[in-house]
Symmetry: C2
Subunit: 728 residues, 2 copies
């Protein structure tokens, strides 16, 4: 895809989103694309290995129930079907037009398809935005024509789509020529046709079976978000594998992901460009990849999408979810004839959030009665004795399954799967236990021949050959299940009364005022114009106090002796007034002095940074971290697009690695996290209210106390100001 940097173009039936105020975007109906009954292929070929021949060949070979109309003025028959010289010659509108002609002829075909009332157009042809500016302009023209006509557009430069349940193969992907897999419940949505095609083969080898495939190409019309949104409501799809490089409108992507989440679809996402090298490679691949990876990451996590970094991991997840329901919790039981494998599983379990509850004593005793030298806690080590006599293994397995404290069971069976004869010795027991415990996730790890794998899968048992990989996958499924169980994120109204920021630069004092009005608690302060006023104010504020000179002409107040800290009484306040005035007069003669700012010193507490930045894809994004080295050196910050619910805010806070410091590490008081969360929510609402005017906000420090907390300093940068100074 090459159009990430282009202007957003609204897709038919959808409303383009340009501001975060819009609550929900309408997503296009993809039925014409994925449930098409009538499909015309313009540029149809008699050669089943040519781009214009493949979709016809695939559909004929697999029994597409609808009708395919090859369009080719030079032929009368194509692959046994009557060919038509033009779309008009068909005599009635078709649902879908596939365009497989040279790039220069695409526009003509698109105009024709619109004239013939096609509902949807798929452009295979390349030579557009992925090539140069002229190509980008050409694809934008085409997208505009389609949008105006209300015709759904996929591509250009895409390898197409399929709906396996209907044998609708509107694609030229070559992976299908090595054999089309039976239909399943896993969908692929991909911004790279090559990766989608490779994944079809790789995940297919792993046992994944597919419902749909959508390669979005240059995304001049519909995009990844549209595909996800449609699949979110598709009953044939249980898992959606997403290969993502970026998107134009992060809020629509988020909405699509949330729709999938609401319907408990498992999203497994490979989002690339996390590293600098990766982002550079992506930029050279797609022209421009906008948006911070950290924000994508936050959104994927919020939407309970599982982010992976390898295609294999993606395949494992989809495979497991397509065979079994998610486990109900994170409690794993392990049975193995090898103690060592039990240790590997236990180590791996710790790394992925699984616990291994001990079997109750009566059950342990039962196991000891079967094999006296077994280890019966959990992992249950049945010992090598059970390799020679599989009935012992079966009996122990029965005990393990009888315990109601597990959500998943992993059985390691060494090389047993190498022989049907050996497998036959455990399979009846295994399958019966599996059937009797439909709520359990059951996985078997063994080196298995295909016939054994097939039987396991048909019985709803997940197969692995590596015990750590099995455990990691179960852990990921348990985390996904916990995410779904936590419920849909609270709905947050994006509607905020619009706020117009004052003209001119926003001073610290104005920033404070604006944010305080929006509910951010600030440390109290007072302005004094004389020493006497300072003393009076200090009595109201309480000691100890800090005093700062107030002057638009003095930027670095400490450097000129304009700041005094820890003033303990009225006398010190008066002394400080005198000292500051003298020092400033000496160091900054001629500066306009508006008095001094007094504020109490906040004792103890933990310093935090609360901020807002503008992401080109997701709009205003709230940032949270601990102050000092944690933000600046360790980059220990979390993000989330505004606006936030309290739940979101609390989640952001709990995600920082330095969390123990907020929870009362080393005997200190825990911080009032509720107060911090409310400040984050207020800040997020402020950001939404400001709309496009706002570039960034930084509240630094925000001091969290045992009860309550205060912002001390705040900086607001407007977009106009940021643009003038070359960004922030």
């Amino acid at each position: 895809m090459n159009t990430l940097a282009t202007q957003p173009i609204s897709t038919p039936g959808s409303t383009a989103l340009s501001s975060p105020q819009t609550l929900t975007a309408k997503m296009p109906d993809l039925d014409a694309l994925l449930h098409a009954q009538t499909i015309a292929v313009v540029g149809a070929s008699s050669d089943p290995r040519k781009i214009g021949g493949r979709p016809i060949a695939y559909m004929l070979a697999n029994g597409f129930a609808g009708k395919v109309f090859p369009i080719n003025p030079t032929q009368t028959t194509i692959q046994g079907l009557p060919a038509y010289p033009s779309l008009a010659a068909i005599g009635h509108p078709v649902d879908q037009v596939i365009v497989a002609v040279a790039g220069s002829k695409v526009k003509e075909v698109v105009l024709d398809a619109i004239a013939q009332s096609a509902r949807c157009i798929i452009i295979f042809s390349s030579g557009f935005g992925e090539i140069d500016e002229a190509g980008k302009q050409a694809q934008e023209d085409i997208a505009q024509l389609c949008a105006q006509a209300g015709v759904l557009l996929l591509g250009p430069n895409c390898i197409g789509v399929f709906n396996a349940r209907r044998a609708m193969y509107s694609t030229f992907m070559t992976a299908l020529e090595h054999g089309i897999l039976p239909a399943g419940n896993v969908a692929i949505v991909t911004q790279s046709g090559a990766i989608g095609s490779y994944l079809y083969g790789l995940a297919g080898d792993r046992g994944v079976r597919f419902s749909h495939f959508l390669a979005t190409g240059n995304e001049a019309g519909m995009d990844v978000a549209d595909a996800i949104a449609w699949l979110a409501n598709d009953p044939d799809t249980r898992v959606i594998m997403v290969y993502l490089e970026g998107c134009r409108d992060g809020r629509r992507l988020r909405q699509a992901l949330l729709a999938a989440r609401a319907n408990r679809k498992v999203i497994v996402a490979l989002k690339v460009g996390a590293s600098e090298q990766g982002a550079a490679a992506a930029a050279s691949h797609t022209g421009s990849l906008a948006g911070s990876d950290a924000i994508y990451d936050a959104v994927l996590s919020e939407c309970n999408a599982w982010r992976v970094s390898t295609l294999e991991e993606m395949a494992d997840m989809a495979y497991a979810c397509s065979i079994s329901a998610l486990p109900k919790g994170n409690r794993l039981g392990v049975i193995t004839p090898s103690g060592g494998v039990g240790v590997i599983a236990a180590d791996t379990a710790s790394g992925c959030g699984l616990t291994l509850p001990e079997l109750p004593m009566p059950l342990q005793q039962q196991i000891k009665e079967i094999v006296p030298f077994s280890s019966a806690t959990n992992p249950v080590d049945t010992t090598a004795q059970t390799l020679g006599d599989r009935t012992l293994f079966n009996r122990i397995m029965r005990v393990l399954f009888s315990y109601e404290g597990f959500d998943s069971i992993l059985s390691f069976n060494a090389n047993l799967g190498q022989s049907d004869a050996e497998f036959d010795k455990i399979k009846d027991e295994l399958f019966a236990l599996r059937r009797a415990n439909p709520e359990l996730l059951v996985a078997v790890c063994t080196r298995a021949i295909p016939s054994v794998v097939k039987q396991l899968e048909e019985n709803g048992i997940i197969y692995f050959s590596d015990p750590a990989r099995a455990t990691n996958t179960i852990g990921a499924l348990a985390q996904l299940a916990a995410g779904f169980a936590a419920g849909q994120p609270q709905a947050v109204s994006r509607k905020q009364p619009a706020l117009t920021l004052p003209t001119g630069p926003i001073t610290e004092y104005i920033a404070r005022d604006l944010l305080a009005q929006h509910g951010i608690p600030f440390v109290p302060q007072a302005i004094a114009q004389t020493g006497e006023e300072a003393v009076q104010a200090s009595a109201r504020l309480g000691f100890p106090l800090a005093m700062k000179v107030l002057s638009p002409d003095i930027l670095h107040k400490s450097d000129v002796g304009g700041v005094r800290l820890n003033l303990a009484d009225a006398e010190s306040v008066m002394d400080a007034w005198t000292a500051i005035m003298a020092s400033v007069a000496q160091n900054c003669p001629g500066a306009a002095i508006e008095g001094v700012l007094l504020s109490p010193m906040v004792a103890g507490g933990v310093e935090m940074v609360l901020g807002v930045t503008r992401d080109p894809v997701f709009g205003p994004v709230v940032m949270f971290g601990l102050g000092g080295v944690f933000v600046e050196v360790f980059k220990d910050v979390t993000f989330r697009p505004a606006p936030l619910s309290s739940h979101d805010a609390m989640h952001m806070i709990r995600q920082v690695r330095a969390l123990p410091l907020l929870e009362g590490a080393r005997g200190s008081d825990p911080v009032d996290l509720e107060c911090v969360a409310q400040a984050l929510v207020a800040l997020s609402e402020f950001a939404v209210a400001c709309g496009d005017e706002l570039e960034s906000v930084e509240i630094n420090p925000f001091i969290g106390l045992k009860s309550g907390g205060y912002a001390v300093d705040a900086l607001i940068v407007k977009r106009a100001d940021a643009a003038q100074t070359g960004g922030h």
Copy 2:
């Protein structure tokens, strides 16, 4: 294995190590085990699937060049070989006696083997330390008999060994019954027979071919360290895969690993028990697992052993190293017809220390001339155009290989490997380029049929199906290569003049003295018995100062007003003296007051913690971390067994996550790391000198400055004291 908790038993020809002062241990010669020419099997069976039948069957089937003597009083022929009623009946000593009889009869066979001058005994039989205390005692008796007779002992409760090059299969592992693989250059050393056997199959499926296999069982005699040390000098072995649960003597393990490192053997280690759950599972499996995982981790890293957490990763590493030499550096070139895969590779590269240097412009231009719309920097995206015309891909590949700035090249070829015909279109070019660039590591990622995989491997090209897994493996190999290039760790003499710690508890003052004598710099201090002496001393020490009461009766000096900080001048010193004496007199009437301790306040700097703890496996271990939350909350500490070289110490310092804070983060001065390293070296030498008397040392804080640094407080705990108080 079940004897981790037993006393160390010296193996024949080796010297048991009980103190760190010993420089090197002599490792036993395993030739009788692995180069045996004459092998007797006691308990030999005619059934090739029985434990006493398998080794005979495996050796007969695979052409063992030596002689096998089945011992069985009830048979005259076993599997076609003449059987003997006893070892004595053979008429001459044999190199190796395999014991495959019931546990109760093992001792008798061992005595017989010793009497018949066997050089080595392998005990398959179980029923020893893995069962109960009586079994443990029985195996210790046997071990002692063997040690006294100078006979090498492997087991009991082990599945045996093989040397594939000599077709010597002294093992009953069942994995071999599914077909014995051709000999290769990868050895397996394992503390779990089941895992070793499974790994043989799993890694074999991946294309790994083996030289040796050693399952060490209960390790009553030889252990994992002995196996590694022998393989370190074996010319047939390039890679050693180690499955490790723990060991009795960490120093011998370290020595074996260093020997492997010196000979540039690649060690791939799966050390389990890293997590609490894993350690618990291991304890239940092996009886007792001693030693801290963090120390094992430090030692593995020091010895350039690659630690993995899955069997698959282990197989990948061994596979790659067995086919190709390590890359010379970390510079990776990627060629792919899919831009997306290039991004995945670039992201993954970042995570594993690989860089993707840009191709020079002239080469980029050459590529653009071949495929105008390719992306020619690196990753090189040849575009889908090269799928239709593979000659274009070949030409671009030639350009890529012509660049001398890569150490490794990864070629992604999508589904090309699914067809011999397609593969034929690139293989001549690929193989020619590979041959012309023998110093390069070359990997191909494609979904491949076996014939394609075989050709790749035969041509020294590593095969993968997942691009991220390929990249991660290359990254690991590059890190190993960098480790070897850094050279062998400096030899450190373990000989230190022995030091006897004073009797009685070691006060802070004594601790300081002892450590200062061993070269740890301390902040200067002085004792004063009167106010006047304090003032005089303060003039020598310099201001500002801290003053602390000196009394053996007062533990918490601050609580009783016994500490004053930031004394700025002589007057404050005198005031502080008066105040401390008054406060202490009031709060602790009757306490013996020995005066006050004065020391300058160290301004600025970074607080660190330097320590020594005693590990049951590795002996005294040095610890390093930053002070405050970094040690206490984030557990950001590094370890290394004493004694340290300066290089070791610097490496420990550089391993903490908080390193940026020592390097001058946020505009502060960088810390004099050389000084910290020297203090760690001195501390490690102190620990070695103390020998078994020492439990722990904690120097907290050690303040690192821009130039130099000082210990401020120190605590030394003797082992006797720690034992009295139930440990530390």
